[in-house]
Amino acid sequence: MSELTGSPGAAASDDAIPAPSGFSFENVHRNAMIDQMNNSSAGGVGVGASAAAAAGSSPGYLPMATKTGTTIVGLVYKDGVVLGADTRATGGSEVADKNCEKIHYLAPNIYCCGAGTAADTEKTTEIISSQLELLRMNMGGVQSRVVTACTMLKRMLFRYQGHISAALVLGGVDATGPHVFQIYPHGSTGKLPYTTMGSGSLAAMSVFETGWTEGMSEAEGVELVKRAILAGVFNDLGSGSNVDTCVIRTDGTTTLNRGAVTPNDVKPLRDSIRRSDMLNMRPGTTAVLKSEFSAAKRGGVTLADVTVTEMET
């Protein structure tokens, strides 16, 4: 019961500790100072309605966390699961990464799409992936189960009471069959035959609700996932660029298709830009009047400079 009452991260102690061992609480002090700066400026900050936004409405005191505004989806089909994600990462209203990877590896048979704060989704899935591998080693190599990953993720997220902003679509195939789970930042989970998350989830869900049927083929499943993500890419400002898909099959094979659909390829646009010829000058444009070569003076330490002293035991 004390697990529920305890909160993560005890307050920092200001006593000088001679040897730096154990946890470092420097960031607690830094965060307190930032809070103080924020609260003293303009009498308190009005935070926007979205719980996921960092307190960034004050001018530049807090760096905007890079978020995956995002459309992520997962569905179960006849012989496995298909996961899909867009590839846009935003920092505020700017696109920070046009082609980031939102489908994370958890186990050979389990992958996880992540929406929310990019660092949180990346690191959370890495931690659980590591725990799953250790568990496989300790348990004699038995394949990881999707519910195991789900439970590990929800326990960690609940412990952090929603401060880890990671909304996940977990999918995989194990001995009990194909499964898709949705996991929310506060630690609640839901098991569904198909699900969508992220800012583009409503656009994607409309496609799923129209098109999903039980026992689809792989081609149908992948096509539906692509259409769902494209709905988010084109109709949601927080999602964009390409579609990544991941098919995990009951026969044990997995196909991670990075850039399955690339409707926003920027290369043709860049190639059509006419730049000044000064940037592409041929060698020989400038006349060479005289050439002179001399051996470079070799400075620095060589083996000749090393003096060997016998080690005293």
């Binding site: 529920l4 009452t5 699900t195």
Partner: protein, 199 residues
């Protein structure tokens, strides 16, 4: 946003719930399962924060399993309810959870305990909770009689939840029920287009 309900009958208990999980105005899961099993014949209906109630359910399930092994007998519904109450009360500042614990045991037969937000625990002739419960107090007060049969209790659970779903925006989807008796548990659901009452 939820409607949860539990009505005991001679020999057991009927647990019922809607299936809507909403984040703001969006329905995140329209077929969720809000009736969780705590032990062989002890179940609980969850309302409030999904993450909090899922975590609570996992804790109590774990403790009851341990207790069963240590004492060599099935725990009673009263014990399950009091364990749940202890967690809800002692962590009341950090939790948003209203649960109804119900089930069958050899000591009290079918029984129902209501554990609302603050962490109080009251044994009741029937219990209802969640945002949709406000709309069906009148219906339940008029239709409920002590000592109803299994079928009557089951029908009343489904009727009452339909009425709540019709009036409460945060309740909807399908009606899930579990009939708990000494012999075991019978899980059923009523699809959203076959509700006893509705538009």
């Amino acid at each position: 946003g939820t409607t949860i309900l539990a009505i005991p009958f001679p020999g057991g208990v009927v647990m019922g719930a809607d299936s809507r999980v909403s984040t703001g105005t969006y329905v995140a899961n329209r077929t969720s399962d809000k009736i969780a099993q705590l032990h062989d014949t002890i179940w609980c209906c969850r309302s409030g924060s999904a993450s909090d109630t899922q975590a609570l359910t996992d804790y109590v399930k774990h403790y009851l399993g341990q207790l069963a092994v240590e004492t060599g007998r099935s725990p009673t519904v009263k014990v399950a309810a009091h364990l749940m109450r202890k967690l809800c009360y002692e962590n009341k500042d950090n939790l948003l959870a209203g649960v109804i614990v119900g089930g069958w045991d050899a000591v009290d037969g079918g029984s129902v305990y209501n554990i609302p937000l603050g962490g109080s625990c009251i044994k009741m002739p029937f219990a209802v909770g969640g945002s949709g419960s406000t709309f069906i107090y009148g219906l339940l007060d008029s239709e409920f009689r002590p000592g109803m049969s299994r079928e009557e209790a089951h029908d009343l659970v489904k009727l009452a939840i339909s009425h709540a779903m019709a009036r409460d925006g945060s309740s909807g989807g399908i009606i899930r029920t579990v009939v708990v008796t000494e012999e075991g548990n019978a899980r059923e659901y009523v699809p959203g287009d076959q509700l006893p009452f509705g538009p």
